[in-house]
Amino acid sequence: MTDAHLVARAQKGDVPAFEELVRKYQRDVYGLACRMVLDAEEARDLAQQAFLQAFIYIRDFRQQAQFRTWLFRIAINQCYNFLKNRKKFGEPMDSQDMHLVADDSPEHGLLEEENRRRLQTAFQKLSEKQRAVVTLKVEQGLNYEEISQVLGGSAGAARVNYCQALKTLRKHLKPEDNHDVALRAYPAMAARVSRR
């Protein structure tokens, strides 16, 4: 069944139809929230809230829009609010303390773990908007026009944000003198790992 069908049914209060949409997009929404708040446990709660909000306001959804884009917009707003509160109440952001991955994620090797941590640290240097743009573009495959529908603003602004974000990520993924896991070293190391 298409999104449009499921949405139409959900708009009439059909919970199972909405739950089919949830199953279809839960990984996307969760992944997006993970990148935004950089904490797997919070991301889970935010994904729940996003779906609940989407269900409550689904009657406001107009069918000419894409449900996925609309859902992302809700999820991103949940994340923005969360981050705003976290800033306001001064919870420190320390990648060492954060849950990088959910407790029952498949286990990864040491190198993989270290790379993820580097990426996490680099993401912390991005503005919230930049995090959103990079994730929507690279991981969710949205184009600038769609990104501007999710985030507001123009497609041009999304493009500028994307460019800036890549520069910032590059800067913070670059090799440090005494750090053995680094961006430049990555392809060689990955090749070594995959040969095992």
Binding site: G31, L52, R59, S105, H108, L119, G156, R159, V160, K167
Partner: protein, 169 residues
């Protein structure tokens, strides 16, 4: 870095995506053929993107999603039982909290220390946009947005300084 390099480097992400139009693409390729700096830049962008794609968010396994679905199901059923009108009322009650807090904060803002001038008061939007246009920060058809706060926030420190200086801040 020349202004030309700066311009070309702005297009590199789209070049990588294959999103550039024919003429712009040709311009980028011609420049890359002669400029090692921009070639290096392109290589590094490529590496960042590969790194990102190689490390997607670690998605949890099935039991997590089963539990996720169960928990959400209860919330959805509950929301479904709340009649629309009641829901609207709850919405306004929920809204009342933040509104009160907002008003309080606004009040405090007025009573507290004088704030730094906010960005929109610096210069009219057009001035910033045209200043950036003059400096080649963006092109005619691609100036970022009329939202000055967003524009300035997205610039590098250097670029921001240049634009603000130009509009006489």
């Amino acid at each position: 870095m020349t202004w030309r390099c700066e311009l070309i480097q702005r297009w590199l992400p789209e070049y990588l995506d294959g999103d550039l139009g024919f003429f712009r693409r040709r311009r980028v390729e011609a420049h890359l053929g002669t400029c090692p700096v921009c070639r290096q830049e392109l290589a590094e962008f490529t590496q960042v993107l590969e790194f990102l794609k190689a490390h997607p968010v670690a998605l949890p396994t099935e039991p997590f999603w089963a539990e996720f679905g169960r928990e959400l199901h209860l919330k959805l059923v509950q929301a479904n039982q709340t009649p629309a009108r009641g829901r609207a009322q709850i919405f306004y009650y929920l809204l009342a909290g933040p509104v009160v807090v907002g008003l309080l904060l606004m009040g405090l803002g007025y009573l507290g220390q004088p704030q730094k001038p906010v960005l929109p008061q610096l210069a009219p939007a057009e001035q910033v946009v045209y200043a950036g246009l003059d400096d080649g920060l963006w092109q005619d058809e691609e100036f970022p947005s009329w939202d000055i706060n967003a524009v300035l926030a997205d610039l590098s420190d250097q670029e921001r300084e240049a634009v603000l200086k130009k509009v006489g801040y």
